[in-house]
Homo-oligomer: 209 residues x 2
């Protein structure tokens, strides 16, 4: 069982590491971090923190593909070689998944055409421009494609995937090991719940370059 | 505002990356990942994924110190130089914090003596051997020390710290940006909620080496 994470400049760390800690629960999981070039990949704070052991050329298949998001995925969306790689890997996967705006990369590759999907709440409507039906849910499964909402939603999505792929017991065991019994001190994690002024400020300051 | 994450062989990635994504919400935060030697640090899957740009020798102070946990923190707990560094940094901090079994490293350094603290549910009673009062809560604040429960609890702890250090609005803004509106598909994230058989299996298989 090979699980492949696609890294690219400007990606968000938690989008990858949330699902990573969960999908490790799959017995015999072999996990690869892959980027255009192997080595440290700069994240969305422009810091080289996470290491891709493999280049795109070195990885030609995956059982599960995970595409993390970025506050600015424009470069990845505009990179024909990355999109071609995503399409090629997808022909081999059991599950093709994304977290946050990783869904826009998946959509740009054409793979979500006519499907239902979700992404970060700030970019939900962007999906339409790729012929994808935006759905405001924590994660959305359509066939073998599972897309998660913003950043932390990848943890919930991965637990669901673990249950489907292995069993509810394996998912619950992993949940208990990572003590995922969330108790955020505030209830501001979605635009429907956060103070309207904060939602408005973020909408105003955000733009996809 | 300098935020320092202590990395060490066998640490758990999400323990560090959860708080990392949240504490970045502090304006002008300067974040450093530090390890005994700079460079890639092997995680608890024995994979060199995360990069420490600094060695312990290069960092002598922090406003906020974060110590992530590990399924086996024995080596770090037994390393006198690491514990001395933790004590030295602590003399400069506004907040000294831990996630998961990072609390055991903090406890071993002597800094939690006589204080209330929490850690991963599997190791809660170990705190007593260091003269620390174990508390079964999502995170525990005692003076400038904040300790979080297992792995994912670091996200909740960091949101609380963000609110104390900056404001509730800053914490809510960050929560909304990382769309932290958790909806785990199962309710098995604590030993009180998970199926008893799973709790028993994990208790049986777990030991601190």
């Amino acid at each position: 069982m090979e699980i492949v994470f696609l890294l690219y400049e400007n990606f968000t760390m938690l989008d990858a590491i949330g699902p990573y800690e969960v999908l490790r629960g799959i017995p015999k999981a072999q996990i690869k971090f892959v980027a255009k070039e192997s080595g440290l990949v700069r994240n969305d704070a422009d810091v080289p923190l996470l290491n891709a052991a493999y280049s795109l050329d070195e990885v030609k298949s995956a059982d599960i593909l995970v595409i993390p998001g970025s506050p600015n995925p424009a470069a990845a969306i505009g990179d024909a070689a990355t999109l071609a790689w995503v399409r090629e890997i997808d022909t081999t996967t059991r599950w093709t998944t994304s977290v946050c705006t990783g869904a826009l990369i998946l959509a740009a590759s054409g793979l979500l055409q006519g499907r239902r999907a979700t992404t970060h709440w700030l970019t939900l409507e962007v999906l339409r421009s790729f012929g994808v039906e935006p759905v405001s849910e924590r994660y959305v499964r359509d066939g073998k494609f599972i897309t998660a909402a913003g950043v932390s939603a990848g943890i919930d999505m991965a637990l669901e995937l673990l249950a489907i792929e292995c069993s509810v017991e394996v998912a619950q065991t992993t949940q208990l090991m990572i003590e995922y019994d969330p108790k955020p001190p505030f209830d501001a994690g979605s635009p429907a719940k956060a103070p309207a002024t904060i939602v408005a400020q973020l909408r105003k300051s955000f733009s996809l370059a």
